[in-house]
Amino acid sequence: MPALRDNSGLLLALAVVLLLPLLLQSGTLATEVLVYALAVLGCNLLLGYTGLLSFGQGVFFGMGSYAVGILLTRAGMPLMAAVLLSIVIGAGVAALIGWFAIRQRGTYFVMLTLAFAQMFYFLAYSLPGWTGGDNGLLGIPRPPLSLGGLASVPLDTPWRFYSFVAVVFLLTFWLLHRVTTSVFGRTLLAIRENEARARAVGYDTRLFKLAVFAISGAVTALAGALHAMMTGIAPLSNIEYHTSEMILVMTVIGGTGNLFASLLGAAFYVLAADWLSTLWPRWLLLLGLLLIGVSLFMHKGLWGVGQGLWQWATGRVRAGRPAVREQSL
């Protein structure tokens, strides 16, 4: 069944989205998993599909939070308009940073993205009139979702908001699945594998990198916007170094180059952080050790481990079959 295999990631994502409400008590925690999974998808698109390691994903996340916060509180926009405009702003900021950063490759690119992330952090810090500075932007409402003026869906409770985020997440997942399997996506893989060759074949690789950066910024800003609506605030920490680091860490822990791996990485990180932080305030020490461990021994992330286990299990079943037959004979 090739159709099933092609869409297996999408089906797995759907399964997780449906399972989360059964497994978790808190709707906010479940929403957090999906929100960060969106941000990780954006990061994975860069790292896993294009080979660009961006340490500035927090900028787009934070910009999404601020944009939706300002649009909802000051402009009083309807929900969908505010979210869509935040996505556009995220893409714009990403294109701007990308224009500077993609001229460089490898480690230089990493440093540039981090330096620009710091720049936007201090920009947000220096403009308290817009961002609330250190306190963050407070009192962001969660207006009901109006469906073309026909009906209006309230998003007031955590689980109602989860349903909204789940639909948005699955839609984005499907769109990114289409993007990565398109000619555009295959060209990105060519750039990841050998940029000089992709250029020699005639692709304007810079344009492709800029486009994928903008898409990544858009998806990450969407995550940031949903996060701000979830918590009701757009804190300064959303645009901080720590957010960039967290998104990257989730991406690598989940595994790169596979969209479902991003959901896995985000779920693992969010749930582990939620559990560990109640046990020990210095749990980041354990995270540090985990990162060292992943770097040393687990290069394909959780997805790679899952694949290995699956192959081991299915391989064992196949090896076991003749033995069963012999016995039954």
Partner: protein
Amino acid sequence: MNVYLLQVVNGVGIGMLYFLLAVGLSIIFGLLRFVNFAHGAFYLLGAYFCFQAVAWGLSFWLALVLVPLAVALLAWAAERILLRRIYDKPHEFHILITVGVALVLQEAVILVWGPLGDNVATPAPFQGVVMWGSFIYPKYRLFVIGFTAVFALFLWWVLEGTRLGSAVRAGSESTEMVAMLGINVFRVFGLVFALGAGTAALAGALAAPIRGVDPFMGLEALGVAFVIVVVGGMGSFGGALAGGLLIGIVQSVMSSLWPEGARLMIYVAMAAVLLLRPHGLLGRG
């Protein structure tokens, strides 16, 4: 007028510390070709070790020698035990493992010394200020400028005048070639990593009496060091010096013009430099 002169001198003082902070990162990048996210944590350790040494009643001067050596030793061990295993892996793992080391060190500092900051007393001979007419300046900051200048000369000699230095410079051009000449490249990698961490620790120890110590100073320093390396040009000694001074002066002058935006302006300066020279002031493009 005098205010600006004072801010420029102040900026030179900050800039020399920034240079010390960034030069190790730049050399490590030049040779090992990866971004060391643990660099800020080595700076943090330098500051806290200095704080602890002074708290134990050790002389500040002895601390200034011992602290960088201790941190260099730690970094040397980290390179041997952790980094050396993954040089052949994709560079996201080089970065990730240093991010992990940075997290472990930062959280360990909080575990040992607590989440709140502390102060380090200015060493006795440099307490107080110097006065020339209307020009008043803290003695310790003048000492920092002089000391880092001398240390910069020493570091320059290490890189330009010693066998290790020529191996480092040749290795930055082509690691394979240097290995074929019979030099143990891994040993050079380890020494350079330790040297870079040691200079960061020295910067931390020197900065401790000026700004005190707190567990998040490493993260802050990491961001600044990145900007300086990007502005100056990756892997360039002169670039780190030029970038450090430029950023130090911009920050210092701006802090009297627009205090809230002083930090922002160093990043604006970076963007301006990158627009004019995409590979940094002294970087080779």
